[in-house]
């Protein structure tokens, strides 16, 4: 029966083949290191302000729907400290585990709570969905180690989910612009607002060139509409990955906004399984040995 589904010709069989196309476990292993490593990096360096929310008066706390639904408590200094310590500890455990199953699930739950603490004070960030998906699916891919070329369906599904999360972030944002900004969003002055509020010295000259900012808006929407091409692979897919990294680099330099967790997930499109530190180190040792012995 399993064979029938995998080898069938119907639409459902084709959809399943796409979602479960086997991918190398080595890529899962590298992503686990990056994702769980980023959790620690995020807590201490990228968003250290989340921890401050425990001290902000509870009167400024407006829980998200998920906080209400799960009955999550109003952050206090103690609650924030406990969640922070448990999150960092579980991320460390997931980093050293080959399966990252139990530790991975704990990291997912605690990171979600960390996000509720982060985003319940008047501003929600929109660079998280692919990262939360990654935290949810990485524990399902089984044991994996760096450089492992063996491909499995479980790894394929996990990586596909992360990739789809990345694409959804771009593609669905076009609909949000149409809904909240109107169909004439592209001809508005939204980029001018961004430059006026947070522009770096690099983009100050653009204050005198509103036409260029409108052109930037058109290019952004075009890229977001074309973002599903990230999933086609090959030359087109690689070009789209390069454009995506370029876009985030420009945004970071221009207005200081970098979608860090999203960028970690963007790496799921790259052949990370080719990174083999052990083989690299062995190769280096061999070439050093041949140098000192004068061998071939």
């Amino acid at each position: 029966m399993e064979q029938d589904v995998a080898g069938g010709r119907g639409l459902i069989a084709r959809i399943q083949r796409w979602w479960f196309a086997p991918q190398p476990l080595g890529r899962v292993a590298v992503l686990r290191t990056l994702v769980y490593g980023f959790v620690i990096f995020d807590v201490f360096l990228v968003r250290p302000w989340v921890a401050l929310h425990g001290t902000v008066p509870g009167a400024l706390y407006r829980p998200l729907a998920i906080g209400d639904l799960l009955g999550l408590p109003t952050p206090t200094p103690l609650l924030v400290a406990v969640v922070k310590a448990a999150l960092v500890a579980s991320a460390c455990a997931a980093l050293v585990s080959r399966r990252a199953r139990v530790a991975g699930v704990v990291v997912f739950a605690l990171y979600l709570e960390w996000m509720v603490i982060a985003f319940s004070y008047g501003k929600v960030d929109h660079d998280r969905i692919a990262f939360l998906v990654a935290l949810a699916v990485l524990p399902t891919a089984g044991a994996a180690r760096w450089g492992e070329r063996r491909a499995t369906e479980a790894a394929g599904w996990a990586l596909r989910c992360i990739q789809v999360g990345v694409v959804v972030t771009y593609f669905a944002s076009v609909f949000a612009k149409a809904r909240f900004g109107g169909l004439d969003w592209v001809t508005g002055a939204t980029f001018m607002r961004a430059v006026l509020r947070r522009g770096s010295g690099l983009v100050e000259p653009l204050l005198e060139e509103p036409g260029l900012l409108v052109a930037g808006q058109v290019l952004l929407v075009a890229f977001e509409l074309l973002s599903p091409l990230l999933l086609v692979g090959g030359r087109v897919g690689r070009a789209m990955v390069a454009v995506a990294f370029g876009f985030h680099l420009v945004t970071g330099l221009a207005i200081g906004i970098v979608f860090w967790p999203h960028l970690v997930c963007l790496l799921a499109f790259l052949p990370l399984e080719r990174i083999r530190p052990v083989a690299l180190a062995a190769g280096r040792r061999r070439s050093y040995a041949s140098q000192i012995t004068g061998g071939p």
């Binding site: 400024l60 998200l64 929109h126 609909f175």
Partner: protein, 141 residues
Amino acid sequence: MLTRTQRAVRMGAAAAVLLLLAAGTVWGDDEHFPFGPFRMYSTRNDPNGTVNVVKIRARTVTGEIVSLRPRTLGLRPAEVNGQITRHVDDSVLAAKLARAYRAFDLEPPLEKLWLLHGFHQLRDGRAVDYWEEVRGTWSRT
């Protein structure tokens, strides 16, 4: 190779998340995180309208006028913007910000705190004028 059940569970989970994201995009808002719409920079500014910037200014007990960065109060600039839309009366928010200043044990103590809106007037997409208005005030009693 995954079993049929393992596949079904995974497909069900993926479909549920995609459906929730689609629903959030059409009907949801930021409060529905993580399934809310991806509305980063989604609102439109009229090329002949205004762009507003929120500022927090205060007078300390020593009489000095200082500009307070939201970060010193444990908030990000966009969070102060978000709080404004949640407060009908900006003076209530000004009082809460003064409380945050005390909660972080900042010195010197404040005597007065103003919540200001700065406005950049745009003409054909270019900023041509700037002014400020006081929207909320808190005074130490």
